[in-house]
C-alpha cells in the first residue's frame, strides 16, 4: 500500500507544477489576444481617454509580468483576486455557485451515463454480434456522432415542447434537490447521450478482448454460465481501461459542456469561461482554467490509483 501513497504524493506534486505551468500559459495566451478588458467593455464607444482612465482603475496599466506576479502572490495564499468588472466581486464568490452547478450537472449526467454504459457494454459483450449488440452500438454511435446542440434541440422538440420537461434550466439558491433533478433532466440526458458511446464501447471491447484468453476458456469448460464468466472472471481484469475511460469522460462532463449550457441556459462554469475570455477578464479566466486543469489532474490520478488497486500484480510488485 505504501507504493500507492508515494504515487499519490508524487502525482499531486506534479499536478501542482502542471497547474503553475498552465497558469503561465493561460496568462500569456490572454495577453496575446487582441484588445483588453477596458476595450471589450467600452467596445465601439471607447475613446483613448476613457480607456486610459478605465485601465488605470482596474490596474491594467501595469506591465504584464507585474500583473502576473501580483495575481500569483494572491493565488498562493488562496486569494484569486477580484473580477475586473465594476462589481469588484471576488473571483471565488463568482465561481462558487457556478462550480456547484457544473458539478451537479456532471454528477447527474454521470450517475445516469456510467451505470447505463457499463450495463450496456457488459450485455453487448455477452450477446455480442446479436441484434441487441448491433442495436446498442448503432444507437450509441448515432448519438455521439451528432453535435451536442443538435441532440439538445431534438430533446427539446420532443420532450420540452410537449410540456414534459422545462426547456431551460433555472437554478437558484432555493431550488430543492428534487426540483433541480427535474429541471436539469434534459441537459443531463443530452450529456448522457453524448458520453455513453465511448464508455460502453470501451467496456465491450475490454471484455471481449479477455474472452479469448485461456483462463476464460477454462471457466467456460468448467460449465460456468456466461454471465458469471463475464462478471466474475473477465470484468475484474478489464477494469483498468474502463476506469480510465470513465475518468476521461467525467473530466469532459466538467470542462466541456459549454454548448449544452448555452442551449439549456444553464449557469455553469463553461459559460463563465467563454464570457470571461471574450471580455478578457483575466482573473476569472485563470481561476476557471485552473479548476478545469485540476479536474483533469485529479480525475486522472483517481483513475490511475483505482486501476493500480484493481490489479494485484501492480500492488504486490516485487
Amino acid at each position: 500500500m505504501g507504493l500507492i501513497w508515494t504515487m499519490i504524493a508524487k502525482r499531486l506534486g506534479l499536478g501542482l507544477l502542471t497547474l503553475f505551468v498552465i497558469s503561465v500559459i493561460i496568462f500569456s495566451a490572454t495577453e496575446l489576444l487582441p484588445g483588453d478588458f477596458a476595450k471589450a467593455i467600452l467596445g465601439q464607444s471607447a475613446t483613448e481617454e476613457t480607456l486610459a482612465a478605465f485601465r488605470k482603475e482596474i490596474g491594467l496599466d501595469l506591465p504584464a509580468y507585474q500583473r502576473y506576479f501580483n495575481w500569483l502572490g494572491g493565488a498562493i495564499q488562496g486569494d484569486f483576486g477580484t473580477s475586473l468588472s465594476g462589481n469588484k466581486r471576488p473571483v471565488a464568490d463568482l465561481i462558487a455557485t457556478r462550480l456547484g452547478n457544473t458539478l451537479f450537472l456532471a454528477l447527474y449526467a454521470a450517475a445516469i451515463a456510467v451505470p447505463l454504459s457499463l450495463v450496456l457494454g457488459i450485455l453487448a459483450a455477452l450477446y455480442r454480434n446479436s441484434i441487441f449488440d448491433r442495436a446498442a452500438n448503432a444507437a450509441a454511435l448515432t448519438s455521439i456522432s451528432f453535435p451536442e446542440f443538435f441532440v439538445a434541440y431534438i430533446l427539446i422538440f420532443v420532450l420540452a415542447q410537449s410540456g414534459l420537461f422545462p426547456s431551460m434550466t433555472r437554478m437558484d439558491a432555493d431550488t430543492t434537490l428534487g426540483e433541480g433533478l427535474y429541471r436539469a433532466f434534459l441537459p443531463a440526458l443530452t450529456l448522457t447521450l453524448v458520453v455513453t458511446a465511448h464508455m460502453m464501447r470501451m467496456t465491450r471491447a475490454a471484455i471481449i478482448n479477455l474472452l479469448a484468453s485461456p483462463y476464460i476458456e477454462m471457466a467456460r469448460l468448467k460449465g460456468i454460465n456466461p454471465m458469471r464468466v463475464i462478471l466474475k472472471h473477465a470484468l475484474p481484469n478489464a477494469l483498468a481501461p474502463i476506469i480510465t475511460v470513465i475518468a476521461l469522460n467525467l473530466a469532459y462532463l466538467i470542462t466541456g459542456v459549454v454548448v449544452v449550457e448555452v442551449v439549456f441556459v444553464y449557469p455553469g462554469l463553461g459559460q463563465l469561461m467563454v464570457d470571461s475570455v471574450a471580455k478578457r477578464d483575466f482573473p476569472v479566466v485563470q481561476a476557471v482554467a485552473l479548476i478545469f486543469a485540476a479536474a483533469y489532474v485529479l480525475l486522472n490520478l483517481t483513475a490511475d490509483v483505482l486501476s493500480t488497486l484493481s490489479n494485484p500484480r501492480l500492488i504486490h510488485r516485487k
Partner: protein
C-alpha cells in the same frame, strides 16, 4: 454600445424651451376612439423576460452599461432627468421642467421634489450634480463622457440645477435622457457606483451578472401611471433558439432579438405575437476617405450605386427594416429629409462615376464579421455579387468577430459596422461625421458640413434648423464616406397575455428601454 436614438414626432419650440411635464402625452395624441379600444393597463403579475444580451462581466456601474440587458434593468431601477416619450418627444422625469438662455448655452433644470430613493433617502439636487459629474473629467471612464464633455459648469441653485455649456446646444435636454446619466445617491459630491439603490419603478432584489435579475415594484414610485407589473424576472439567454423555445414553452412572456431566419415559424406558434419596431439602428460600410481610392468622391458614389439595398433588406433583414440612403438620419426623426432622392441599385450610374474617376473597373477589399451586425458577412457577399455588374470587384475579407472593434473597425479602409442611432440629428452627425470626432469612422472632413453642424446646433429657429439638417443629409448622402445600406427594426416577440402600448418607443430596443415600466399583463 451606447446607442440612443429618436423616434417619430417633433419637439416644438415651446416644448423645447419649457419642457413638457405631461407624462401621458403619448396617450393623449391618440383619438378617443382608439384609446377606448385599447386594453387599459392594470397592475399585477411578474413579467418574465428573456434577453439576447447579458454577460458575466455586467456591473452596476453606470459608466459600463454596454448591453440591452443592463441598460433595461437599470433604467427600471433608476431615473434620468429627462425621458424620451414613446412618440419621440422629450418629457421631464426627475427634472420637472427646464429653460434655456437665449443662446442655448445655459440650461436651468427644475428638479422634482419629494422623490425618494428605494432606501428612503430623499433625492436631492446634489445627487443630480454628483451623478452627472461622475461621467465628466479626466478620471472618467464612462462611455457617456463625450456627451457630457461640452458641460463647462454644473451647479445646484435651490431646487434647480444650472448647467453651462461650452457652446449653444438646442438639443441638450435630449442628452440627459441617456441611460448612462441616471441619478444615484451621493455623499460628499461622489456617487457610489456599486449601490443597488435608485429612484426608479422597480427595486433590485437580486442581480446575478450574465444570468438573471429579479426586481419588485417600488411602492413609492413618483409616477402613478407606470410600473404595472408586480415584479420583473429578467433572464439572459444568448442562444436565439433557446430564447424562442423559452417563449414557446411558456417559460417567459417576452423575448427580444428574434432570429429573423425562423421568424415565420415563431409567428405561427399559438399565443405568440411578433412585434417589429422601426428604430434608427442602421448598418454601415464606412470607407477611409483619407486613403486612395476612397478619397475620390466619384469612387465613393460608384460604390454607393453598386449596392442593391432592397435585396439586402429582403434577404438579410427578412423585410424587418428599410433601405438606407447613405445618411444616418432615420425616417422617424424630426429633421429627416423627405425630399432627398432615395439611392437605388444602378450599375450604369456606378459605371458612369467610375468613368468620371477615369477608371473602367476597380478592385477593393471589404472587411466584415458578424460582430459588426448579424448578417454582415452575408451582406458583404451580396454587395460583392451586385457590384461586380458595375465593374467593381469587391473582395470580401472575413475577419474574426473577436476583437473586431480593436483591429478592424477604423483600422481597415473599408469595413462593416453599425450605429444604434442617436436621439438628435446633431448628436448623430457630431459623433460619427464631424471632422476630428473620435468615432468618425470614415475620417471625413467636409468644410460646409462641419460649418452647418455648428450653426445648426445653436439655432433655435425650427425652419432654419430644418433647412440646415436637410442640406447636411444631402451632403452626407452624396459626398460622405459611408455606405448605409439599411435601417434595421428591433424585432421582439411576446405572449398574447402581455399588454402592449399603442405607441412604442423607437429610440432604443425594448420600448426605449422602458418596457418594464410601460407594459402590463392584459
Amino acid at each position: 454600445m451606447s446607442n440612443f436614438t429618436n423616434g417619430t414626432g417633433g419637439l416644438s419650440r415651446r416644448g423645447l424651451l419649457k419642457g413638457a411635464t405631461a407624462l401621458g402625452a403619448a396617450g393623449l395624441i391618440l383619438p378617443a376612439s382608439v384609446r377606448k379600444a385599447m386594453a387599459e393597463p392594470k397592475r399585477g403579475g411578474v413579467l418574465r423576460i428573456a434577453l439576447a444580451s447579458g454577460n458575466t462581466t455586467d456591473s452596476l456601474d453606470p459608466a459600463t452599461w454596454d448591453s440591452t440587458f443592463v441598460q433595461s434593468f437599470n433604467t427600471a431601477r433608476c431615473n434620468t432627468l429627462t425621458e424620451i416619450a414613446p412618440d419621440g418627444t422629450l418629457v421631464g422625469e426627475l427634472a420637472e421642467s427646464w429653460e434655456a438662455s437665449a443662446d442655448a448655452v445655459t440650461w436651468t433644470f427644475k428638479i422634482r421634489e419629494g422623490v425618494t430613493f428605494h432606501s428612503g433617502k430623499a433625492m436631492t439636487v446634489d445627487d443630480v450634480v454628483a451623478s452627472i459629474n461622475y461621467h465628466r473629467g479626466e478620471e472618467s471612464k464612462s462611455a457617456a463622457k463625450p456627451y457630457v464633455d461640452p458641460i463647462t459648469d454644473i451647479k445646484a441653485d435651490g431646487q434647480n440645477v444650472v448647467i453651462t455649456l461650452s457652446g449653444g446646444n438646442a438639443d441638450f435636454p435630449f442628452i440627459l435622457a441617456d441611460y448612462h446619466l441616471v441619478v444615484l445617491p451621493s455623499a460628499d459630491g461622489k456617487i457610489d457606483v456599486t449601490t443597488t439603490d435608485g429612484t426608479g419603478a422597480y427595486v433590485l432584489d437580486s442581480f446575478e451578472p450574465g444570468v438573471s435579475v429579479k426586481m419588485s415594484r417600488n411602492p413609492n414610485y413618483f409616477k402613478s401611471d407606470r410600473a404595472w407589473f408586480d415584479g420583473i424576472d429578467a433572464l439572459s439567454i444568448v442562444d436565439a433558439a433557446a430564447r424562442q423555445n423559452a417563449l414557446i414553452t411558456g417559460e417567459v412572456d417576452v423575448i427580444d432579438g428574434v432570429d429573423l431566419n425562423t421568424v415565420s415559424l415563431l409567428e405561427r406558434a399559438p399565443g405568440i405575437k411578433v412585434l417589429p419596431v422601426t428604430g434608427n439602428q442602421h448598418f454601415v460600410f464606412p470607407m477611409d476617405t483619407r486613403l486612395s481610392p476612397y478619397d475620390n468622391n466619384n469612387i465613393r458614389q460608384a460604390l454607393k450605386y453598386g449596392l442593391d439595398r432592397d435585396e439586402l433588406v429582403e434577404k438579410i433583414l427578412r423585410g424587418f427594416g428599410s433601405a438606407g440612403n447613405d445618411h444616418p438620419i432615420g425616417r422617424g426623426q424630426r429633421y429627416f429629409n423627405t425630399e432627398l432622392e432615395q439611392k437605388t441599385y444602378d450599375p450604369d450610374k456606378a459605371k458612369f462615376y467610375l468613368k468620371e474617376a477615369g477608371m473602367d473597373s476597380i478592385s477593393v477589399q471589404l472587411s466584415a464579421a458578424d460582430a459588426a451586425f448579424s448578417g454582415a458577412v452575408d451582406s458583404a457577399v451580396l454587395y460583392a455579387e451586385r457590384a461586380a455588374a458595375a465593374g467593381i470587384n469587391i473582395e470580401v475579407v472575413r475577419e474574426p468577430s473577436d476583437g473586431y472593434w480593436d483591429n478592424v473597425w477604423m483600422k481597415k479602409p473599408f469595413c462593416a459596422s453599425y450605429w444604434g442611432g442617436r436621439p438628435t440629428e446633431d448628436l448623430m452627425f457630431s459623433v460619427a461625421y464631424s471632422a476630428g470626432a473620435p468615432w468618425n469612422d470614415s475620417f471625413w472632413d467636409h468644410a460646409r458640413f462641419n460649418e452647418l453642424l455648428v450653426s445648426a446646433r445653436s439655432e433655435l429657429d425650427d425652419d432654419k434648423r430644418r433647412q440646415m439638417y436637410w442640406e447636411m443629409q444631402d451632403i452626407c448622402a452624396n459626398e460622405g464616406g459611408v455606405v448605409i445600406p439599411m435601417f434595421a427594426s428591433y424585432v421582439n416577440a411576446h405572449s398574447d397575455k402581455v399588454g402592449v402600448p399603442e405607441v412604442i418607443g423607437t429610440n432604443q430596443g425594448l420600448d426605449g428601454l422602458r418596457l418594464y415600466e410601460r407594459w402590463w399583463f392584459a
